[in-house]
């Protein structure tokens, strides 16, 4: 494959990963924010959903009680922001670092719950579901995390190439000036 067509293919892969990962984060965020069954969309019902999500976080028994509610109120909006940011492609290196860190954090939290033998549901995409098990960790570790890693590695490679191209162009301009 020609270097230019390889770069083109790489860009398409990156675009697909960005959109897929962005949608995953957005779906995860909306499932936590949306009103519980039977409640209408309103500020109060969103607060109730976030309070339910806080109970899910509390059941992981990782964070101190004082940190649970602020974390539960921030995380869904962070996921929503991160999802949109990934899709936009702006400052991809930073967004892919954040998504990789977030996914590593989620996997570590689930591994901790599983290791301690707690029967806790994931809460990753809303309430309910079976207790956390290897399936959840494999989903995040083998499906979501690779998407993020592709973006992370790809964004650094592209930035490096772009930096090299800029340097070459600057050198050419300088040479032409001489």
């Amino acid at each position: 494959m020609e270097p230019s067509s390889r770069a083109k293919a790489w860009k398409w892969v990156m675009l697909a990963c960005r959109i897929a990962l962005g949608i995953i984060f957005i779906v995860a965020a909306v499932s936590k924010i949306k009103p519980l069954q039977g409640l209408p969309w309103s500020v109060a019902s969103v607060k109730t959903s976030l309070a339910m999500f806080a109970m899910g976080i509390d059941s992981y028994q990782i964070l101190p009680a004082w940190a649970v509610t602020p974390f539960a109120q921030i995380l869904p909006f962070f996921e929503l922001f991160l999802g949109l940011w990934l899709i936009s492609g702006i400052a991809l290196r930073v967004s892919s670092i954040l998504s990789t860190l977030a996914l590593c954090g989620f996997i570590a939290a689930m591994a901790s719950v599983w290791h301690r033998g707690l029967t806790v549901t994931c809460g990753c995409f809303g309430q309910g579901g079976p207790p956390i098990g290897p399936k959840d960790m494999l989903r995040d570790g083998l499906l979501f995390l690779p998407l993020s890693l592709v973006l992370l590695v790809g964004s650094f490679i592209l930035a490096k190439k772009s930096h090299a191209a800029s340097a070459r162009a600057a050198a050419a301009i300088a040479q032409a000036g001489d």
Binding site: G38, T48, G56, T69, T119, T121, P131
Partner: protein, 184 residues
């Protein structure tokens, strides 16, 4: 709030001590929350079914609250030797305890326990107590919710039951949920 618990389960004791006592004092006694206790005595706890019998018998004479507190407060003691009557009798007036004993008369272990959704909770119960049907109904209700263990609870708001919470949660977090629901 429907709570499924096992009197011999240490996590249930922690949930009772750290959360349910506050729920009862601040929200149940003021009429803001309706709390329903369900028995889900797990088969891995030898005396859990028997303890559920005693608690239900105490409920029949209006002494459920003191009995529940006595069972959790002395869980290690009766959990080791099965002498539940000792702690129940100390938790209520002698007259009430005699009525409880009358309900329990003629029953013997094994008591109904949660052994698996394919097994009738009453299977193997050779000397039943009149309370056993209530316990068996609770166990079956737990099976329908696919409870993975205890404690577990379901919050129902305006006829809508939210997904079960499969573990105990701390009081400040649960309080926040109640407050947001009550403000709606």
């Amino acid at each position: 709030m429907d709570v499924f618990s096992d009197y011999q389960c240490p996590y249930c004791r922690a949930f009772y001590d750290q959360t349910l006592r506050s729920v009862i004092a601040d929200y149940v006694s003021t009429g803001k929350v309706y709390l329903v206790h369900h028995d889900f005595p797990l088969v891995l706890h030898k005396y859990s079914g028997e303890a559920a019998r005693w608690a239900n018998a105490c409920a029949e004479v209006g002494e459920f609250g003191p009995a529940e507190a006595a069972l959790y407060d002395n869980q290690d003691e009766w959990g080791a030797n099965g002498n539940i009557a000792k702690y129940i009798s100390a938790a209520m007036p002698a007259g009430d305890f005699r009525r409880v004993e009358a309900i329990m008369r003629g029953s013997a272990m094994p008591a109904p326990q949660a052994t698996g959704s394919s097994v009738d909770p009453m299977a193997g119960v050779s000397h039943p107590c009149s309370m056993d049907t209530y316990i068996a109904e609770d166990i079956k209700a737990g099976y329908q919710l696919s409870l993975p263990g205890t404690p577990d609870f379901v919050i129902t708001y305006k006829g809508h039951a939210f997904a079960p919470i499969d573990t105990g949660v701390s009081w400040p977090v649960l309080k926040q949920l109640f407050d947001t629901l009550l403000k709606q």
